[in-house]
């Protein structure tokens, strides 16, 4: 049985491609924790704006820093922030969605109005508000992106809880005297994990794109620390002279998103 599943997975081009891409990116990030070809913030005036070579896989930037090392570091930051965002967004969103969906009533009405209002508010704007009020930094970035992702999870979980609430198995558990909290977390939530999995994958991609976009605007991680978005915005003025400076970080962002998108698409088709 297990063997069969593996054969099925290997036959699906989306799952294979997604697995390979995501695997390579993760490998690059994990290796980056232990070893990087150069120190990502080390400047070298003698080797400015070099093209791709064996010495520098993606060339060097305008301060002679090795782009591949900076990409390794930057994708680590992006991944961490995306994971943090999803933990905050999915965690808080699930709790809000489950409680409002389960109890309903006035609390539900009020919470959903606030959630709708937040949902109407583009996530990039929310992040900009928080950053402009509390200053630029990765904590602010994490909190603002996390809050921005709460509404979508709250809505999805609420809808699913509403759907499950009147099903026979819930009624049955209720007759056996299961408490509300246990009902929500032990009986209902495990039954909606399929929906959760796909929205987490989509959310993860949106978080990567949002982080990259914000650091492109200059409100993400601050120099000299590398971040993929910031590298892109710095590289723009050298785009004709040194294309590898632009393409390196850009392609890594695309691959990061693409890997998870392929995995999501594969999982969706699986069902």
């Amino acid at each position: 049985m297990k063997n069969n599943n593996w054969k099925k997975i290997l036959k699906d081009p989306y799952l294979v491609a997604g697995g390979i891409i995501t695997g390579l990116i993760l490998l690059m990030i994990i290796v980056g924790f232990f070893w990087m070809p150069y120190e990502p913030t080390k400047m070298n005036a003698a080797e400015k704006l070099q093209g791709a070579s064996l010495r520098h896989l993606m060339g060097t930037d305008n301060m002679g820093r090795d782009i591949f090392s900076r990409v390794m570091y930057g994708s680590r930051v992006t991944l961490m922030i995306a994971i943090g965002t999803i933990i905050i967004g999915a965690g808080v969103g699930t709790i809000i969605g489950a409680i409002t969906g389960y109890y309903g009533g006035m609390l539900d009405e009020i919470t959903m109005r606030v959630i709708d209002a937040l949902f109407a508010f583009p996530s990039i704007l929310l992040a900009l508000v928080i950053v402009s009020v509390y200053g630029i930094g990765w904590v602010q970035l994490l909190v603002s992106l996390g809050i921005a992702f709460v509404p979508s999870f709250a809505r999805i979980v609420r809808g699913e809880v509403l759907r499950c609430k009147n099903m026979d198995y819930v009624e049955n558990a209720r007759l056996q005297g299961v408490s509300d909290i246990r009902m929500i977390f032990v009986h209902i939530l495990p039954n909606i994990k399929g929906v959760m999995a796909s929205s987490i994958l989509i959310g993860f991609n949106n978080a990567v794109l949002a982080e990259a976009g914000l650091s492109y605007l200059g409100v993400g991680s601050q120099p000299p620390y590398a971040s993929l978005g910031r590298m892109l915005s710095d590289s723009q003025q050298y785009m004709t002279k040194s294309p590898s400076y632009v393409l390196g970080p850009g392609i890594i962002i695309v691959l990061m998103v693409l890997g998870f998108a392929f995995l999501g698409e594969g999982i969706r088709r699986w069902k």
Partner: protein, 314 residues
């Protein structure tokens, strides 16, 4: 009609909630606006007097009411850094942002609807498969990266336009539109991919339903069934989605304007954030949020006009 009125009131409530949140966010900022206005050496008595004049001692709700009623009348306050009305700062920039958003939206609609219908019609054909994979890839490219790629190719190699060579609409309208076309394409690309995917799925969903089979069994040809029956129903979710796309483009233009150096509202926004010029930030954020919320209301109304079922359901 009742449905529209209900939606209208809900929009008003949403606007009040959003505006209050924006107001609250900016009123908890550390630092005293009166002190900022007078400079650090001002005497405490003077600061207290100015605080009273600026109405900073009033309760939160009173200050909120004063701010929002002025906002509705078009009085957005005074910029800290330029000491000029906020409106004066952004008035010339608004057309750039709006035209960029509209162009990107039109490109999305014009390209994605025929493409979506085509891929659904030729489901699992070679072209459909190529487009599906291309869609996945395009969705993974953030607009600022596609924007840089577009300027590398079309400004650097083919030289269709000058990089960072924005032309003002006051000087040369065709030149202005031509320059904006490239950022608009960058903004539209991921949305095109999403819309094509969505329309394809929606058409295929409807094509599997009973009424489609009935239409076929009455001897209609594929095109007749597709355009007269299937598409009418398949477009409903797509229209909602396009409304969200339009709203998204207003916010998405913030990044793309920076890539192409278009002097739009977002340039002012980003500069004001780094200068801590809160009245400007507050106005622009509230303005964009208002546009997004109003677009959502319009989508609901359109939705209700084209799909009578919704009026009964609610």
């Amino acid at each position: 009609m009742r449905y529209i009125i209900k939606k209208f009131f809900m929009t008003i409530i949403t606007l009040v909630v959003v505006s209050f949140c924006v107001f609250l966010a900016f009123s908890v900022i550390p630092g005293d606006p009166a002190l900022k206005k007078l400079g650090m050496e001002a005497s405490p008595e003077l600061v207290a007097q100015v605080r009273e004049e600026m109405g900073l001692n009033d309760p939160l709700v009173v200050r909120y009411y004063r701010w929002i009623s002025a906002f509705v009348k078009g009085d957005f306050g005074t910029s800290y850094s330029y000491n000029k009305p906020v409106m004066w700062l952004i008035a010339g920039k608004i057309p750039n942002t709006i035209i960029l958003g509209i162009m990107a939206f039109l490109i999305t609609v014009v390209v994605s609807i025929p493409l979506g219908i085509f891929t659904a019609k030729h489901e699992n054909g070679v072209i459909d498969r190529v487009i599906s994979v291309t869609n996945q890839i395009i969705m993974a490219i953030p607009p600022f990266f596609s924007g840089i790629l577009i300027s590398m190719i079309f400004a650097g190699v083919i030289r269709l336009f000058a990089p960072k060579g924005y032309v003002s609409y006051k000087d040369n309208v065709p030149g202005f539109l031509w320059y904006l076309l490239f950022p608009a394409v960058a903004l539209a690309l991921p949305k095109i991919a999403m819309t094509v995917k969505m329309l394809r799925g929606s058409v295929l969903d409807e094509a599997g339903k009973d009424y489609t089979r009935t239409a076929y069994s009455r001897g209609n040809r594929t095109n007749e069934v597709l355009y007269r029956h299937v598409l009418k129903n398949a477009m409903i979710p797509v229209i909602t989605f396009l409304g969200m796309v339009l709203a998204d483009m207003v916010a998405g233009s913030i990044v793309v304007e920076k890539v192409f150096d278009v002097p739009g509202v977002s340039t002012v926004l980003i500069n004001s954030i780094s200068n801590r010029d809160y009245p400007v930030v507050q106005t622009i954020i509230m303005g964009i949020a208002t546009i997004v919320i109003v677009i959502n209301l319009l989508v609901d109304i359109v939705y209700c006009v084209i799909d009578p079922r919704i009026r009964i359901d609610e």
